[in-house]
């Protein structure tokens, strides 16, 4: 019997205080102004303070912390990409995630259960081979598995050889994981605030004053602020905010939808994904099945949900797990994702000297929250992007030097 809990409930003194201080008034000037209070902006604030001692920082968030894609994603964490540059980058993020609860002193419910991606065609098997070899080369845990091994990893999958899209082989990524998405943002925010970083919620950036190739001031609905450096980490609104600085981006914004079922007893340990069926499924620590798929078919800045997507996600999920047919859906929602042509992010320098980009995170940026924060902080502190971010520079589009991750990203996140 948890007596401690009962005593706590009946007691008058609740030792838990608020995680973040109340919103202060603006200071006239900050060393760094961060636009966007999602995981990326907050992680950048934390690492600026922790790694570089830069604490005169404010985070401007138009809504509430983690209310954007950080609190809407399906929390797939993995590093099984296809180019060595990407694998190296995302591996650094998975490594940071492994210790994150401890580092932040904040439980992010991190759970490394492996991710199984399914192939229903020979073409997919070929790309899996390549991803497995690249992954091993860079030092991630990844291997091809056959039908027998798939049965061992996820016994409840429908392995019928006469199915519409039979399962031929799999890509087994032991480093695959999941965690509580908004806790990641809250953990970073709480620790950043302890270093003195200011969190300004309900503060919308409405304009950027550019003078002689630099951002002179940031306009908000609560007045102007100045910053030595300004960084945008606004996901679906990347093009809109960049346009305030006169910057055009190769980004198109699409809604991405997901949904959860009612909770059931734990039966599905790994994360399961199939790009052939445009769906992926995992079971949350609460027992709900989290189901996601591909982006909406046309560009939109609205987070409405559609019946079409619900139907196609359900149909495809039932092809993998027919016995789920009687489960009920609890929620469906959407986030606005900033899609790049090569399914890789845009990070680092912008055409405006003291303005830095952390954009183009599309449907796959939650897993990169720690590494993006760490490396964007380094970029700002050194006023130069480190070599690991070089493949993701905006200028790659001028030279057609793309980092194509479409095959390793679409419908897998």
């Amino acid at each position: 019997m948890p007596w401690g809990l009962l005593k706590y409930g009946l007691g008058r003194r609740y030792p838990a205080g608020p995680d973040f201080p109340a919103r202060p008034e603006f200071k006239p000037r900050y060393d760094v102004v961060i636009i966007g209070g999602g995981g990326h902006g907050l992680a950048t604030a934390y690492y600026l303070a922790k790694d570089w001692g830069i604490t005169n920082v404010c985070v401007l968030e138009k809504g509430y912390l983690a209310g954007g894609n950080t609190g809407r994603n399906t929390a797939v964490i993995r590093s099984n990409y296809i180019t060595p540059e990407s694998v190296r980058f995302y591996k650094e993020s998975v490594d940071l995630f492994n210790d994150l609860s401890g580092e932040l002193g904040y439980n992010i419910l991190y759970s490394q259960r492996g991710q199984l991606t399914l192939a229903h065609s020979d073409a997919t098997i070929r790309t899996f081979r390549m991803r497995a070899e690249v992954g091993k080369l860079v030092g991630t845990r990844i291997e091809m598995v056959d039908r027998r091994q798939i049965r061992e990893i996820v016994p409840c999958l429908d392995m019928d050889e006469n199915a519409r899209q039979p399962i031929l082989a799999g890509l087994w990524h032991r480093d695959g994981a999941t965690g509580r998405h908004d806790a990641v943002a809250w953990g970073y925010a709480a620790r950043a605030a302890e270093y003195g970083v200011e969190l300004h919620q309900r503060t919308e950036v409405t304009g950027l004053e550019v003078e002689r190739g630099r951002i002179a001031a940031v306009e908000t609905n609560r007045g102007r602020v100045r910053g030595g450096h300004v960084i945008q980490a606004v996901a679906g609104m990347s093009s809109v905010v960049a346009a305030m600085a006169g910057i055009r981006l190769p980004i198109r914004s699409y809604p991405l939808q997901a949904m959860v079922t009612q909770p059931v007893k734990p039966f599905l340990d790994p994360l399961v994904s199939s790009s052939g069926l445009h769906t992926y499924v995992s079971q949350s620590s609460r027992g709900e099945l989290v189901i996601g798929g591909g982006s909406d078919p046309y560009e939109l800045y609205s987070t409405r949900s559609t019946l079409e997507l619900k139907e196609s996600l359900i149909a495809h999920t039932l092809e993998l797990f027919p016995f789920l047919a009687n489960l009920r859906l609890m929620r469906q929602w959407a986030g606005i994702t900033d899609m790049t042509p090569d399914y890789s992010p845009i990070m680092g320098e912008s055409p405006v000297r003291n303005y830095w980009l952390d954009a183009g995170w599309g449907t796959w940026g939650f897993k990169a929250t720690p590494v993006s924060g760490k490396r964007m902080a380094e970029t700002i502190a050194r006023e130069k992007a480190p070599e690991i971010l070089h493949p993701f520079r905006l200028d790659r589009f001028k030279t057609f030097d793309l980092a194509n991750e479409m095959g390793a990203t679409a419908a897998s996140h």
Binding site: M237, S239, V240, R248, L249, P250, I251, R252, S253, P297, Y298, E299, L300, Y301, S302, R304, T306, L307, E308, P341, F397, K398, T399, F400
Partner: protein, 98 residues
């Protein structure tokens, strides 16, 4: 399901259509430097508001133009491409094959 009013086929389910992005002026290929060409290929206005876009009714392969609000998800107007592109445009050097 959302309905798209097709200028050729009348109102149809939007799942029958494919969107091909904003109507953009194509620069003259032979007089455009690499950087401007890359700009034309990759960059996007990604407007939050009313846009003019290419759409195709896939079963009939009919291309037309739609005006759409990307914030409210409303289709405001659709019309045949001939309303905008009234004359044939030839690019210089077009016939110089390899």
């Amino acid at each position: 399901m959302k309905i798209m009013p097709c200028p050729l086929n009348g109102p149809r389910n939007i799942s029958e259509f494919a969107c091909s992005g904003e109507v953009a002026e194509m620069p003259e290929p032979n007089r455009t430097g690499d950087e401007d060409w890359a700009d034309f290929i990759w960059m996007s206005n990604n407007t939050a508001g009313v846009v003019r876009e290419w759409w195709c009714h896939v079963p009939t392969n009919y291309w037309f133009i739609a005006e759409r609000d990307t914030v409210t998800d409303e289709i405001l107007k659709t019309y045949p491409a001939g309303k905008v592109f009234t004359a044939r445009r030839d690019f210089q050097g077009r016939d110089e094959g390899p």
